[in-house]
């Protein structure tokens, strides 16, 4: 064990070191440093390209997802964006019936970091159910319409958050379809009976409703 003099010496050395470090840190010129924080931002980058992929696929366009992933790896090196190794699974399912129907487009990612595995998922989901019939006069012709309740949502899931967005939608054939927003992702739509109508949301994701 140290004696009293030794302890005082040790304390003096500690105080001197702390003072020296403080002076050195204040002399240090400020230089921008890259934050090595991995979290919401990386997940949202992945979720954004997921939405773009779903949008392009629903529109019948081709988006090279593998190319985008390689771009992200390149940006890891050049810009330090800290995206982990990515693998993905895309699934879509639609079941359109006259009385009701639903569909979803889902892209699920596995994001691997050296000591961490994250799951990130984007999902576009809609469903509709029949309400009633009504008739509409279009340029002198009476047309039978089916009224539906339609629900549309985007779900963004990652370890840091779960966000649900109810996007604005519009019909591809605007003059033919009646559409009204009720709230909380629910729309009332009227479409000519025995037709399939296409809708697009504000993020350019296309989906169908069968009347």
């Amino acid at each position: 064990m140290l004696n009293a003099r030794g302890q005082i010496l040790l304390l003096a050395i500690a105080l001197f070191t702390a003072t020296l470090l403080f002076i050195l840190s204040s002399m240090n010129k400020p230089t921008p440093k890259l934050t090595k924080y991995v979290g919401e931002l990386q997940s949202s980058i992945i979720l954004q390209i997921s939405r773009e992929y779903v949008s392009d696929t629903s529109m019948g366009r081709y988006l090279d997802l593998e190319g985008l992933i390689n771009d992200l790896y390149d940006y890891n090196v050049s810009h330090g964006i800290f995206i982990g190794r990515l693998s993905y699974l895309y699934s879509n399912y639609t079941d359109l019936d006259v009385n009701n129907g639903y569909g979803n487009y889902t892209l699920t990612w596995n994001v691997s970091y050296p000591y961490l595995e994250n799951k990130v998922r984007f999902s576009f989901y809609w469903n509709y159910s029949f309400l009633n019939y009504y008739y509409r006069n279009i340029e002198g012709i009476v047309v039978k319409y089916s009224n539906y309740s339609l629900y549309v949502e985007h779900t963004y899931i990652c370890p840091q958050f779960k966000v649900i967005i109810h996007p604005c939608i519009y019909a591809v054939e605007k003059k033919v379809v009646d559409i009204k927003y009720v709230g909380n992702g629910v729309w009332i739509i009227g479409i000519p009976t025995n037709t399939i109508q296409k809708f697009v949301d504000e993020y350019e994701i296309k989906f169908k409703v069968k009347g």
Partner: protein, 112 residues
């Protein structure tokens, strides 16, 4: 008796070393893996912006960022689009935004 004292001192030394190492590990990990609240807040704000928006419009994006006083610097595609008059020491948060199938490179400077 003497041997017992010697043994006790050894154990004491080992215990002090273990506590010292634990403290060092704690201090290192808290410095290495913890981030100031404002850095985390900016990250969350950027994540929210990316999720909500399909397109990155520079003016709109800057208006959004200027709400946060800790942001001192914004560079988009290698062009400085916003900087406070005298930026202090800052750390950068880098990300990319897919805009009409083209990447936009964004660097945000946040006060340290």
């Amino acid at each position: 008796m003497y041997c017992g004292d010697e043994e006790m001192r050894h154990i004491e030394g080992i215990l002090i070393t273990i506590i010292y190492l634990l403290f060092l590990a704690y201090a290192y990990s808290s410095v290495r893996y913890s981030f100031p609240n404002h850095i985390v807040e900016v990250n969350r704000a950027l994540a929210y912006y990316i999720i909500i928006h399909k397109h990155l419009v520079v003016e709109d994006f800057l208006r959004y960022l200027k709400n946060n006083p800790s942001i001192v610097f914004v560079k988009i595609n290698n062009r400085v689009v916003y900087s406070t008059i005298n930026p202090e020491s800052y750390t950068t948060i880098n990300f990319v935004f897919l805009n009409n199938s083209r990447w936009i490179e964004v660097i945000i400077g946040v006060k340290c």
